[in-house]
Amino acid sequence: MSTCSECKSFFSREDEQGKGDCVLRVVDPRQAYYKTRPVNPDGDASGCESFQKK
């Protein structure tokens, strides 16, 4: 099973061990932006359409 920590979009937090952020690029009809949300490094990535192996 792939996990978030193996994904290109995953960034672990320097100051908080065992925690990480998923950072994704989004382009919508009006603007482009980067969005982030907290994810668990061991989170199951198998169902994630945005998963990209590091």
């Binding site: 960034f11 937090r13 952020d21 950072v23 690029r25 989004v26 919508d28 009809p29 009006r30 603007q31 482009a32 932006y33 980067y34 969005k35 982030t36 949300r37 907290p38």
Partner: protein
């Protein structure tokens, strides 16, 4: 991205001649501002419906509800603090390309937030609202249904509805006499800017103060037993809740810092943007934790506070005084230290406004119709005086005015506190904004309004001088005891019902219900005094019902809702450990927003003239005509329109009735008391309530039929009824005592763009403004867009996206308001000065 103008190759002269200011703005603003301005997903409903692509945010409501369920044994303040902290820690956040100011109330730029715990009625409306559910729609509907099921019966309004007097509740909920919700879940939160926005403290300092208070309180709790220590236990819980949410706020900001740093280090290839992102990271690491040191940090602190407040409650207003609080940083960075060029500062100023323009929450249909094209009445106060009475205008005042012409947003708008010491260069900048058709700034007569603050609520002069618009019109100080941290919009009266009920013995023919008191069959009235007595009793009944409801809502709010974040930024709450919404320590600053007011005056004058003085018609004939909505009585209706004096023509016959109505209402405003035992003055104005209520107010003796738009302003004459020119309008309005007859009085005027062109136009306008000031009016605002342009925008809306008009207490893009409101604006008399 460079702060250089986007394009500079087209002749501006041609556009200037045609007064196509929006094209000029687009060409003059920097590439960054052009990108950010166009990137905004407009959240204001277009005539009442959300624009395609706007979706409700379900992340925040789900996170909040999950934690609220989990912490079910906590008291309300702490439960909200923990739930809010969970949202702030987990909701997706984003950084838009080229942006430098962070923070949005939602999980993506196209989302509108939804306050789940405010009112079940609103939740049900959301479930049934077409087009706003994120894809896959079925799954979203299931989520919404689940959330709604949980909150049904336990939202703030549900709780209040259970204890309201049943008759009051039914009449209030009929929608005929007022609007709004008596809860701090939706409302206008004043901010204690003097406490947290003077560059003196950050949230860590406030937390340290609270910890000290807790320590002292805990010591008392292990001391001598007695009744005095009993309230302390609750206060400690409240203080803990404030700390919980302030700490979460700091973490929320640090999430932006982390994202900006990640982008700078891993994604960004452009060196300049990388530097910007690192500056963003440094800014968000600094504020709100610590006091700001420069303009960007000061703006960022302010914006975080506003966004965080909205995560806590669906705030419908944006009281602010940005030039006053951020001005010292602007002057230091741009003029003294020169760490920012003027162009770079313009980018920050413009983005500071754009970040506000993009904010919006889901609102019920009545609110969307009442405030077409915008998501709240976000009137920013600029200008004015300092507490010592000296001129408060600074370099940032003019920077805001200049920048507003470049970005042309309809929210926020500015209201300028005019006073005799304002320099001509500042007045010129204000005039340029009006000439460019923004509809703002509106003008507020500062000496009059400071006196008004002192007269109605007893604010000391130094505190009164800090005033900001708490919503569209009403001033509120930003000081410890002067600030009103919460004002419920439901003290908003549909005043035309006063005269309507006086004529129909309290019966409402539109909603089919006995609403007001039985004041007698008007067919039997034999003189004007009987009618006026009936009007007085209906006025007293209507206002008292609304005020009772709001007072109760305010009193119970700390129990039913709870505002830990607002409390954490309010000095007296930090000091006392009480919810900021608690009236303890507040001087009181309530007001009644008086919608659809002038119809009372013109209607009473028409009855007096044509029935009692001229005896041309009988009361029997009049009531029959009104009951049939003037059907079959067109000649009679035209007599009531044309042969009775109308407000706004310097005619004492009708103007005296205006004064008598206002002064009778002012007596009642002093009889009714707020939760701080202070007064309830009225502020006649509409947002677009004149359109919303057009299908709610029945036929009136001013000749109006059910369905016709009501008058647009608080004391503006009816469209086309001011036949004696603009100075006569000012003279009529100048008969009102703007200090003691009410809280504030909105006056809309339309000026001819052709007449206002060039230096001559400015001088004409300045002379007119001097008359306005001399006559002691507290407010005036202008539309200066030609009929030709407005008609062209109706035909071809795509080409005129940035044409702005002043609707009432706010501005909107012309293309975003309903056809009926558009026509109503075009019908307003264009005055030649």
């Amino acid at each position: 991205m460079s702060a250089e103008p986007a394009k500079n190759d087209v002749s501006f002269q041609e556009h200037e001649e045609k007064q196509e200011w929006w094209w000029i703005a687009e060409k003059r603003r920097s590439k960054r501002l052009d990108y950010l301005r166009k990137a905004v997903w407009k959240k204001g409903a277009l005539g009442g419906n959300y624009a395609p692509g706007i979706k409700v945010d379900l992340d925040g409501p789900k996170l909040f509800t999950d934690m609220w369920r989990f912490w079910k044994f906590d008291p309300v303040m702490m439960r909200r603090a923990k739930s809010l902290a969970h949202v702030l820690d987990n909701i997706p956040i984003f950084i838009t390309d080229h942006s430098q100011i962070m923070g949005y109330w939602g999980s993506a730029p196209h989302t509108i937030s939804w306050r789940v715990d405010g009112a079940s009625m609103v939740n049900e409306e959301l479930y049934n609202e077409p087009g706003v559910m994120p894809e896959p729609e079925e799954e979203s509907l299931r989520k919404v249904a689940e959330i709604n099921d949980y909150w049904a019966g336990q939202t703030a309004v549900d709780k209040l509805a259970r204890i309201l007097d049943p008759e009051d509740a039914v009449k209030f909920l009929s929608g005929a006499i007022g609007w709004g919700a008596p809860t701090s879940a939706y409302g206008y939160s004043g901010k204690n800017y003097e406490y947290f926005l003077k560059g003196e403290r950050g949230f860590e300092d406030i937390i340290a103060d609270i910890e000290k208070n807790i320590e002292e309180a805990e010591e008392k709790c292990v001391g001598t037993p007695g009744p005095d220590i009993l309230p302390i236990y609750d206060r400690i819980q409240n203080w803990d809740a404030m700390i919980t949410v302030l700490e979460a706020a700091i973490r929320f900001a640090k999430r932006y810092a982390r994202l900006a740093r990640t982008l700078a280090e891993n994604f960004e290839t452009d060196e300049k943007r990388r530097e910007e992102l690192l500056r963003v990271a440094e800014t968000c690491e600094r504020v709100p934790a610590k006091a700001p040191r420069n303009l960007q940090e000061s703006f960022q602190l302010d914006h975080f506070v506003q966004i965080l407040s909205r995560f806590e409650a669906s705030e419908g207003a944006w009281p602010a005084r940005p030039d006053y609080y951020h001005g010292p940083f602007y002057e230091k960075d741009v003029l003294v230290d020169k760490t920012l060029t003027e162009e770079e500062a313009t980018d920050l100023v413009g983005e500071f406004m754009i970040r506000v323009y993009e904010v919006g929450g889901f609102g019920p249909r009545w609110a969307r119709e009442g405030m077409q094209g915008i998501t709240g009445t976000w009137v920013w106060t600029i200008g004015g005086v300092k507490p010592d009475g000296s001129d408060a205008c600074n370099a940032l005042t003019t920077a805001f005015l200049r920048t507003s012409r470049l970005i042309r947003v309809s929210n926020p708008t500015f209201a300028f506190r005019w006073h005799p010491k304002v320099k001509d260069e500042v007045m010129r900048e204000c005039f340029e904004c009006i000439r460019h058709g923004l509809g703002y700034p509106s003008f507020r007569n500062d000496p009059i309004l400071v006196a008004n603050c002192m007269n109605w609520h007893g604010h000391p002069i130094e505190e009164a001088r800090t005033w900001v618009h708490q919503a569209c019109m009403s001033p509120c100080p930003t000081t410890k005891h002067g600030v009103q941290p919460f004002r419920m919009a439901s003290a908003t009266a549909n005043c035309s019902k006063m005269v309507e009920y006086a004529l129909h013995n309290g019966y409402d023919h539109v909603v089919g219900m006995q609403m007001g008191p039985l004041t007698g069959d008007a067919r039997t009235f034999t003189d004007f005094e009987q009618l006026f007595e009936a009007w007085t009793r209906q006025m007293q009944w209507l206002l008292s019902l609304l005020v009772r409801t709001v007072n109760l809502g305010r009193y119970k709010d700390p129990e039913f809702y709870g505002r830990p974040f607002l409390s954490g930024i309010t000095e007296r709450a930090v000091e006392s450990g009480l919810d900021a919404v608690s009236p303890v320590g507040e001087r009181g600053n309530c007001w009644i927003t008086a919608f659809t007011w002038v119809e009372n005056v013109d209607s009473l004058a028409a009855v007096k003239k044509l029935v009692f003085d001229d005896k041309k018609y009988t009361m029997e004939q009049l009531i029959n005509a009104l009951e049939s909505n003037w059907d079959g009585c067109e000649q009679m209706r035209l007599d009531f329109v044309n042969k009775a004096p109308k407000w706004g023509n310097d005619d004492d016959y009708v103007d005296d009735i205006m004064l008598r109505c206002l002064r009778t209402m002012a007596i009642h405003s002093r009889v009714m008391r707020c939760t701080s035992n202070n007064t309830w003055p009225a502020a006649p104005q509409n947002v677009s309530g004149n359109i919303h209520y057009s299908s709610v107010v029945g036929a009136l003796p001013n000749g109006r039929r059910l369905g016709d738009a009501l008058y647009d302003g608080g004391i503006s004459p009816g469209p086309g009824l001011d036949k004696k020119g603009p100075t006569a309008v000012l003279k009529s309005c100048g008969k009102i005592d703007h200090v003691s007859d009410g809280r504030a009085f909105l006056l809309n005027q339309r000026l001819s763009p052709t007449q206002m062109a060039g230096e001559k136009g400015y001088q004409l306008w300045r002379a007119y403004m001097r008359t306005w000031a001399d006559l002691g009016l507290d407010h005036i605002q202008f539309n200066m867009v030609s009929d030709k342009t407005l008609r062209a925008a109706q035909r071809d809306p795509e080409k005129y996206q940035e044409v702005i008009v002043r609707v009432a207490g706010y501005s909107a893009h012309f293309v975003d308001i309903s056809r009926k409101t558009q026509d109503n604006i075009i019908q307003r008399t264009v005055h030649g000065l």
